[in-house]
Structures are given as structure tokens and as C-alpha cells.
């Protein structure tokens, strides 16, 4: 089985570093981006099993990025992370078919569990049919 490959998008260096160390420690491949534009560039040129994105970022918010991801890869799992949760953004995220909506500060083990669940399910369904 290939290594799981995740793209982390967050304008906070601390979060990028934290998740980089944790996911590498778990044996995942990880690419980090400091904003939505950079993330789009990576998504156009590389393949990922999951995108973990912050909600509020200066250049592009996580929901706009999710919209762009949906146009490129309709079934790719996306998890939203936010320190500013709201009913509106949660409902919009739900409608964008994100795999989860995680409120900061989060327990990194809980986030990892959600990430693994999303990728496992994706590989079982969309991933396996794409392979055919």
C-alpha cells in the first residue's frame, strides 16, 4: 500500500510545523502550503489523498479552496480546521462535502484519527474505482 499523502494548508507556521512533525512521525508523506494559492499550485501538479486546510487565511479562505479542490478532484477528502467556528461556515462546509470540521485548538491525535478515517474511506470507495 502506498504511503498516505496529505497537503496541509495553514498560514500559521506553528500549525504547519506541528502537523508536519506529527504526520511524518506517523509515516505519512506531507506537503505544506502557507496559503490557498500555493495549495492550488501543488494540487495541480501533485497527487494527494487528503487536504487539511485552515478556514481563515489571508489570500483564500478554506471554503474557497475547497471549492477549487472540488473542481479538480470532486471526491478528494478535505478537512477544515478553524479557530473561528460558526454555524454558517459549518453548514457551507457540510454542503461542500468536507470530511470533517475540526475546531482549534485541537488534539492532534483526534485530528490524525479523522484524517486517517477520511483517507481510508476514500481509498476504499473513490480511490478503488479510480484505480480501475
Amino acid at each position: 500500500m502506498d504511503k498516505y499523502r496529505v497537503l496541509v494548508v495553514d498560514d500559521e507556521l506553528l500549525i504547519r510545523d506541528l502537523l508536519y512533525d506529527f504526520f511524518v512521525g506517523e509515516g505519512w508523506d506531507i506537503v505544506v502550503a502557507d496559503g490557498g494559492q500555493k495549495a492550488c499550485e501543488y494540487l495541480r501538479n501533485q497527487q494527494f489523498d487528503l487536504v487539511l486546510t485552515d478556514l481563515k487565511m489571508p489570500d483564500m479562505d478554506g471554503l474557497a479552496l475547497t471549492g477549487k479542490i472540488r473542481s479538480l478532484y470532486p471526491d478528494l477528502p478535505v478537512i477544515i480546521m478553524t479557530g473561528y467556528p460558526s454555524l454558517d461556515s459549518a453548514v457551507t462546509a457540510l454542503r461542500s462535502k468536507v470530511a470533517d470540521y475540526i475546531i482549534k485548538p485541537f488534539n492532534v491525535n483526534h485530528l490524525f484519527k479523522a484524517a486517517k478515517k477520511a483517507v481510508d474511506e476514500w481509498r476504499q470507495t473513490a480511490g478503488s474505482s479510480a484505480a480501475h
Binding site: 467556528p85 460558526s86 454555524l87 459549518a90 453548514v91 462546509a93 457540510l94 454542503r95 468536507v98 470533517d100 470540521y101 478503488s128 474505482s129 480501475h132
Partner: protein
């Protein structure tokens, strides 16, 4: 819309069941109004219903657990939750268990109709996908059993070369 598309309305309030039953019935859907989850579970199985409209207040405040049960038993069912008092936790919980959409009361019936149409389209797409996956699996079994993999691959690769050769001649 196909005339045999069906919806189950799961709501403890008779007024809502009647309202939605009448509205979607007039649109040509077959509507099954029920007041509780146990009744719904049996009906979804026997009628192969693709879409459920579920009140979040079902099962005396254990709405999310009941909805999760519904989705676990019928993973292909597209569940649209109707709620009058949404909270962040209930919304996050709803999509963690895999609901298709969540509609906040009061809502316009026209808006709900659009969501139901999307849910029907998704149910249909998932059914087609599942059928294709099953057929591919069956074909792969046949190919494996008869050791046919190399000839099929060779033929698949050879065709473009033959075309190129013919074109250049």
C-alpha cells in the same frame, strides 16, 4: 425526475408529515410519511427508498444517534436533516455521520425541493457507480479464472500502433 422516485419523511409532527407528503406528492414523488425511526428502517429496506427527510428532534432528543443508525443500516440512503434549532455541535455531528444536507427551519419548500433533487441525483450516481464496480469485479474474476489478462492487455496496447501504421502506409 423519474416517477418512481420515493422519499421517506421521518417527523414526529403530523402536520409536517402531511405538508411534505402533499408537496412532494404533487411533484410526482412517492412519499412515505412515518413518525419514528424503527418504522422507517423497515420501510426503507422493503421499498428501496433513496432519500430521507428527517427531523433532528426525532427520538426525543436522540436525533443524531438515530440518524447515524439510519445511515449505518442504509449507507446509500441520502439523508436530509430538518432542524429548527441548529447548533455548531449538531451541524458538525450531522456531517460526521454522513448526512447529505441540513436544512434550517423555517425553510421555503422550493429550497427543499432543490436539495431533494440533488439528493436524488447523488443516490442515482452512487447506484450507477456501485453497479459499475460490481460489474468490473465480476469481469476481473472471469479474467483471473481464465487467465485472460495478457491477451487483453496486448490487444489494448496493440490497437493504437496498428492505426498509426495503417495511417502511415
Amino acid at each position: 425526475m423519474k416517477r418512481d422516485d420515493s422519499i421517506i419523511v421521518i417527523d414526529p409532527e403530523e402536520f409536517i408529515r402531511d405538508l411534505l407528503g402533499e408537496y412532494f406528492g404533487k411533484l410526482g414523488y412517492q412519499v412515505f410519511p412515518v413518525a419514528d425511526i424503527p418504522t422507517a428502517l423497515g420501510l426503507i429496506t422493503s421499498r428501496a427508498i433513496p432519500v430521507a427527510l428527517v427531523d433532528f428532534g426525532i427520538s426525543s432528543g436522540r436525533g443524531l444517534a438515530s440518524i447515524e443508525q439510519l445511515i449505518q443500516v442504509h449507507p446509500d440512503l441520502q439523508v436530509v436533516v430538518l432542524t429548527g434549532c441548529p447548533t455548531l455541535d449538531s451541524v458538525i455531528g450531522a456531517f460526521r455521520v454522513g448526512v447529505f444536507d441540513l436544512v434550517i427551519k423555517p425553510f421555503r419548500l422550493e429550497d427543499l425541493r432543490r436539495i431533494v433533487e440533488k439528493a436524488m441525483a447523488r443516490a442515482c450516481a452512487q447506484a450507477v457507480k456501485a453497479d459499475l464496480r460490481r460489474r468490473v469485479g465480476e469481469l476481473e474474476d472471469i479474467i483471473r479464472r481464465h487467465g485472460l489478462t495478457p491477451p487483453i492487455n496486448e490487444r489494448h496496447v496493440a490497437e493504437p500502433h496498428e492505426t498509426v501504421r495503417e495511417a502511415s502506409e
